[in-house]
Amino acid sequence: MSRVKMDVQLGPLHLQNPVLVASGTFGYGNEYADLVDLNRLGGIMVKGTTLNPRAGNPMPRMVETPAGCLNAIGLQNVGVEAFIREKLPFLRRYRCAVIVNIAADVREEFEQLAERLDGVEGVHALELNISCPNQARGGIEFGVDPEATYDVVSRVRKCTRLPLIVKLSPNVTDIQVTARSAVDGGADILSLVNTFVGIAIDARTRRFKLANITGGLSGPAIKPLALYAVWRVAQAVSVPIIGMGGIMNATDAVEFLLAGASAVAVGTANYINPRASIEVLEGIEQYLIEQGERDVKHIVGTVQRCEPESEF
């Protein structure tokens, strides 16, 4: 497998390979440690972390949909202090990059989180989850509002020297606009997509299937939309992109690289097959060998138009 170069440099962040696991789908790594060799992963994006612990939403929190699932976990997490105290020491033992996904519903909390995590040993980057309800704006996502995006990113930028990843929401008319706002605010890297807002209804009981009513759609169903978002953003900005959304296997991952992502994150697939991320990694290497490529960087953004019918 060492026949191909797999390490990637995402702005200030170096990864031994371009395969990460997406926030909320791999816990804090320890849950998978006996099934997956964490040292082989490019990086682990840990569960969304808030300033204070959060209880999360009532059940039901998740529901299956055609080739996908809706989730409304409600950011249940132990809070940043417990994360540093109880979760981080375990992760420090591994070679892979640890990326802390931070979430908040007021801007100040984002700043406090960034300050708290800045310089903490074993934290390699921050991923700013701006797909959470912005209380100041009556609960609409920070991430769908260019100004709010710029503002919160630039505030956080001032609070940390860590590589700053901004995770974009796909629930917008033009993702190039929010992508630019994030970069203007100081994002080193963009990650996308987060989940698409949807609902599910039980016809028999005539009720919503989620206690929270709305949830975020993930899984294979969203792949064509996520690929489009990555491709669009790659046209608009020059910072590296971490692509995700419905990656179930290596072929899916390659599609994201071709569309313009410099790295990929495996999400929902981790639930279905704990070894999904490793299989994606091995599959990408295999693909590069078959394609006669020496370095994964060389295929990033190289997708071509399909054979055109010649004009008459």
Binding site: L35, A55, G56, C69, N71, P274
Partner: protein, 271 residues
Amino acid sequence: MRCADYAEVVANRPVATNQFEVEIHCPTIAQYAQPGQFVQLRVQSGYEPLFSRPFSVFRKHPERGDFSVVYLVRGTFTQMLARKQAGDRVFVVGPLGNRFTVAQPSEERVHVLVAGGVGAPPLYLLAEELIQAGVPGTNVVVINGARRHDLLVCQEHFAQLGVRSFAVTEDGSLGARGKVTDVLKRLYEDGGLAHHRWQIYTCGPTAMLEAVADFAKAYRLPCQVSMETLMPCGLGVCLGCAVRVRTADGFEYKRACVDGPIFEAMEVLWR
């Protein structure tokens, strides 16, 4: 020790109306699975349904490396599982979750196992363990309930163990007519058994678990319940399997897949 790999189906036979026992070759699970633990099974090659499905371990044959689960055909997944034959492959992750806890020395207690429908299998594994640990069959009481006689599972297995087992059906087509809690009450009131030594374990439909928990609470009896939720990952990361558990200052959400599926009945906030 846990495994996450493809495994071969050894057998897949009907055991009751719409219910089957599938035997799977997986030495790790056959050796390490404990009573109350479960496995995540996957037979679908695609995403219909998207997630794997959890099933409690019923029997273990460490010597030949096989284990089995009994399942009721409910929907898409279990219909696909029912079509699997010896030699077919399934993807298995497990053993998962915690186990029923048995206070030691176990001989000194009266173990009351209350099963509803396909809740019986994990309780059979527990009963087997208790007997093997030297608990006299007279101190292992099984109340095994179902809607109709043809939906009752594991009855003959309990019999073979030589435990005191009572069948209950809602339509009275086999054993006592009524609900498991009716029998539970009757047994309790008969007083034949030393109440202070009772330990209840229960697995079945949530409504039944709640009724048994209420009974245990009313009579101040220790009771362990096996909770059932959707289990997207089974590994503790998705948080889609939350169970509300009492805390000093209110409640917190615990994960049925790793903190459970077995909880102290007293701790659970039912709704």
